[in-house]
């Protein structure tokens, strides 16, 4: 266990290091001068030069990278170029939003996926199975922005049941916060649930073929007990791993959903920051997202070993 954690920490550092290099280089080859964006059309070349100096943009890239990494290691992600707020402060404001959205989306996803997956796997080849498969495929196929737009059109514009968009922190107004999150969370949740249903179905089908399921029946268990007592847990193992790996996709998928529903989360932050060349914010936010993804996968691995006693948390390579 200790060796597992050490090893994972080591890996995490390597990956984060690579992520930092990738994002740093990416951001630095972005066309567009942040100094110019800060100063706007009114700026004189002298001013721009001065500001570039101040921001350290005239240093060699290696030096810039090094400076940035040293700061990051001290917990300082720098300040936003756009509004000079500390990146950490901005992140702290955004994280709860994204967290709320993510948790809610997963909640919806699981609420839909588990029953759908079980029904379609245990009634393979029936109309239930077909409709659940079709739902799952549709969910995967509908672009998130189209679904979001459709939701707004139906529930906010036409029916007027839900507020179209916006965000209120949970702490400020619990009910309203949830109400506002309903559509974005459903938009992400439906897609996620579609993926989960597909995965659960196929992994359940495989598990249901296995010998120990036959043993279960041979013991005299009824189908219900076999499915819930023996099959589900085994089938969930790959599903959980895959959803861990999909985490990155969902953090990213939220980008557009957040934009459509004006949810001020991390995704929107990254998009606007890329477009406004707010390098420190882009770097900080992406580092955080990557960190979150890695961390989640770390926990997924632990969960994995809890669910599956065969998996020992040892230092071995996969």
């Amino acid at each position: 266990m200790v060796s597992f954690i050490l090893r994972r920490l080591g890996l995490m550092i390597v990956i984060l290091f690579l992520v930092s290099i990738i994002i740093f280089s990416l951001v630095n080859v972005l066309p567009g001068d942040p100094a110019l964006l800060v100063l706007g059309q009114e700026a004189t070349p002298d001013q721009i030069e001065a500001l570039r100096d101040e921001m350290g943009l005239n240093d060699p890239l290696i030096v810039q990278y090094f400076n940035w990494v040293v700061d990051v290691l001290q917990g300082d992600f720098g300040n936003s170029i756009r509004d000079n707020t500390a990146v950490t402060t901005i992140l702290m404001q955004k994280i709860p939003v994204t967290l709320e959205l993510t948790v809610l989306s997963f909640f919806f996803a699981i609420l839909i996926a588990i029953p759908a997956g079980i029904i379609s796997a245990s009634r393979k080849g029936t109309a239930w199975d077909y409709s659940s498969t079709l739902f799952a495929l549709s969910g995967v196929s509908v672009p998130p922005f189209f679904l979001g737009i459709l939701f707004i059109f139906i529930f906010a514009v036409t029916l007027g049941w839900l507020p179209p968009s916006g965000y209120v922190p949970l702490t400020e107004d619990f009910g309203r916060s949830l109400l506002l999150m309903l559509m974005p969370a459903l938009t992400i949740g439906i897609r996620l649930s579609a993926e989960l249903t597909r995965m659960l179905r196929s992994s359940l089908l495989e598990v249901l073929q296995s010998d120990y399921i036959r043993t279960g029946y041979a013991k005299g268990l009824l189908e219900k007990s076999v499915v819930f007592g023996h099959a589900l847990r085994n089938a969930l193992i790959p599903v959980i791993t895959v959803s861990g790996l999909q985490m990155a996709t969902f953090l990213g998928g939220a980008v557009i959903t957040e934009t459509i529903f004006s949810v001020p989360g991390l995704g929107q932050l990254v998009v606007t920051s890329i477009l406004t060349r707010d390098f420190p914010v882009v770097q900080g936010a992406v580092m955080f997202m990557a960190f979150a993804v890695i961390l989640i996968n770390f926990f997924v691995d632990i969960l994995y070993s809890v669910l599956d006693p065969r998996i020992k948390l040892s230092g071995g390579t996969k």
Binding site: L30, L137, F146, G252, V255, I256, L275, A290, I294
Partner: protein
């Protein structure tokens, strides 16, 4: 005499390739949804290829006296905010989307397959500490964010969007292929090949690659579907196709503003993205079944 029997034999036994193909087709056609998906996929490809013949109007011709007209006999899907025929634009949009899907996946395959093959076959330091960690790093980025950043770096435009999506998809293929190769590398037929004194490249290309083709194909079809969505997303954010080329994503972005007055502007491209991606997904599922001889 030898000759005679040989000819004889060839005539008598049914060609096994044909038999295998028939069995595969059988499995494919058993999956009704896949057949439907395949049908639509080919219909869309047909549409894209013959767009210029099919369309009733020029997709970029503007008619300011026919702005935001609802669907009619002349304009099946209505007209958009500068009076263009949406049906014609949607048909042309198939070109963009299918290109985007095929080319970006092509890029990912072209880069991912060789790297995955070599990395998985030789393992060792490069595999463990460079390639795998690098793909790990790439995969811990939210893909859309990565695509967005790449597209911003490369500049807007369909080609660049395809390259960006291709790059984002690549690590997935590297991983998949590497895992497959590692699994096959330990299989006895590969060892037997080695034991027969075959060179590595021959083992990799002639023996391992064809055996990993099935999962690669499946992943590729699914990747085409997601590449289409990604292209639409980038176009939606303004980093995809350039106007006036009709991209479904861009049309959707334009139409979003007119949802309450002219919902058809956004609705039809949206439905087409959906149908296309769904068809390809279904088709991909069918191919998965087709390539799995374990299925009866």
């Amino acid at each position: 005499m030898e000759q005679a029997t040989e000819a004889n034999v060839k005539q008598k036994i049914p060609n096994p390739r044909v038999e295998m193909f028939k069995a595969m087709m059988g499995r494919f056609f058993q999956n009704k949804l896949a057949v439907l998906g395949g049908f639509f996929t080919f219909l869309l490809i047909f549409m894209a290829i013959f767009a210029s013949v099919i369309v009733p109007h020029d997709p970029i011709e503007q008619n300011y006296s026919e702005i935001m007209m609802s669907p009619s006999a002349d304009h099946w899907f209505g007209t958009d905010e500068i009076g263009r025929d949406i049906f014609s634009r949607v048909i042309y949009g198939a070109q963009v989307s299918l290109q985007a899907g095929l080319i970006s996946v092509g890029i990912a395959l072209a880069v991912g397959v060789p790297i995955g093959l070599i990395s998985g076959y030789y393992r060792g330091f490069w595999d463990e500490f460079v390639i795998m960690r690098f793909t790990d790093a790439m995969l811990s980025f939210p893909p859309l964010v990565l695509a967005l950043a790449l597209a911003a770096v490369l500049g807007a435009g369909l080609e660049n969007a395809m390259i960006a999506i291709g790059i984002v998809l690549t690590p997935n293929f590297i991983r998949l292929i590497r895992a497959e190769v590692i699994a096959h590398r330990e299989r006895e037929y590969v060892e037997a090949g080695k034991a027969s004194g075959l060179r590595d490249w021959r083992i990799i290309l002639i023996h391992i690659l064809p055996n990993t083709l099935a999962p690669i194909m499946v992943q590729a079809t699914l990747a085409i579907a997601s590449a289409i969505i990604s292209e639409a997303s980038l176009s939606y954010l303004g980093l995809g196709t350039q106007p006036p080329d009709p991209s479904w994503g861009a049309m959707l972005a334009d139409g979003q503003g007119y949802l309450s007055d002219a919902p058809w502007i956004a609705l039809f491209p949206g439905i087409f993205i959906f149908i296309t991606v769904l068809s390809i997904n279904l088709f991909g599922d069918g191919i998965r079944d087709m390539l799995d001889p374990k299925l009866k």
